[in-house]
Symmetry: C2
């Protein structure tokens, strides 16, 4: 069946996101090293984020709160408030940074929008994601926006139901095997995986848990129009 | 025209929310008084929340980050990290508290759901709101859930368009004149205002900016079925 609706992930598919978390995490590591030179700061922050995921969900505000908690815990609450103020400032900086599109995104979306319905399907913080889309200049190309608290087979089925989308004519495009490929194929759709330069540990999937067909991988978004023709 | 679709606000309309912010804010005041006995803590926190609204949006995580920033700023960064850890804990406690329904909510919704489509229309943090709805036990009564980053005439029109709702057959029920009444009437719908015991300053509307008709006020949600009949 021909592709009618194309779903796009936002973070690290249309615009840079994870590199910003990495930059901030590097600054966080440098700041904490001055207080606790022997601690495995990255490991402790990753554990904290996972432990807090069911309370905070995804996004920059959650990440900021987990950095603060990690800093207090690792230093035995000896870190000065002025350092915690610096961490609060990093969170604000991340939320206010201009949306930086990946190469080829705008041209590719303009081309695809003429023959397909485009829907942005992201997870994370509602306010932050809407703000990023508004600043991206791409808002008008999307027929709709779905911000999900989690991307799994049930939540994709919810999107299909709400929007009257036939999964057989739907392709999801994203950088995460776990969020953009596996659950979409399980829900009867197809997927195109475009790896990003950095993958968050939490989003990785063992090779043997990947579906055998219904998806393919390309190197860059500019290849997408040709691939959609061939599907 | 008869009422077909009833939209419900969540916080302080179906379940308690603002009282929890008030309780936490009281604890915050007591904690900071020990460091800065002469400061107007409530006023400074309210200013901080407003200044951060365009960066953080609404919700508990935003409130927690603003409390932390206020505490650091008001004490000239002299507050110990152990006190900031206590504030972080309050945020988590608020996010994990069971959803406490207002009196009459469950019976009224069950009654109305037999003759109307019910849609939950809230603002705030996506993850927190979905979590509250799931814990409320009311999820199955709603045909749909709309979580908006802001409630204004444009965002209500977006809900009508997405869901094919005729505004003439739509009634919004909520505790906020600013978010649940004024923009809905302006978008061609009707509204029922149910005041809550506490109103956040930001949600207040001067009497002369209220629409002259298209809405009415009741004391408690149990009056709603009768009022909808009479509309």
């Amino acid at each position: 069946m021909a592709v009618r609706v194309v779903g796009f992930d936002g973070d690290d598919t249309l615009w840079h996101s994870e590199t910003r978390f990495h930059v901030t995490q590097g600054e966080f590591r440098d700041l904490l090293k001055r207080h606790v030179p022997d601690a495995d700061i990255d490991a402790r922050l990753a554990e904290m984020e996972m432990a807090n995921l069911s309370i905070y969900g995804y996004g920059v505000k959650s990440f900021t709160l987990s950095m603060l908690e990690t800093a207090i815990e690792l230093t035995g609450a000896r870190i000065p408030a002025s350092d915690l103020e610096v961490i609060l400032g990093w969170g604000k900086r991340m939320l206010m940074q201009p949306t930086e599109l990946l190469p080829g995104v705008e041209e590719t979306l303009r081309l695809l929008a003429t023959g397909h319905d485009l829907v942005l399907i992201t997870k994370g913080d509602l306010f932050d994601q809407e703000s990023k889309l508004a600043r991206s200049g791409l808002g008008d190309l999307f027929l709709g926006v779905e911000i999900l608290s989690e991307k799994n087979t049930d939540t994709y089925r919810g999107v299909f139901r709400r929007r009257g989308i036939d999964p057989a004519g739907f392709v999801m495009v994203g950088n995460s095997l776990r969020s953009d490929v596996v659950p979409v194929v399980a829900a009867g759709g197809r997927a195109v995986h475009i790896p990003y330069e950095v993958t968050w540990e939490h989003e990785r999937v063992p090779e043997d848990q990947l579906p055998t067909d219904g998806w393919l991988r390309i190197e860059r978004i500019a290849e997408l129009p040709e691939v959609l023709e061939s599907l």
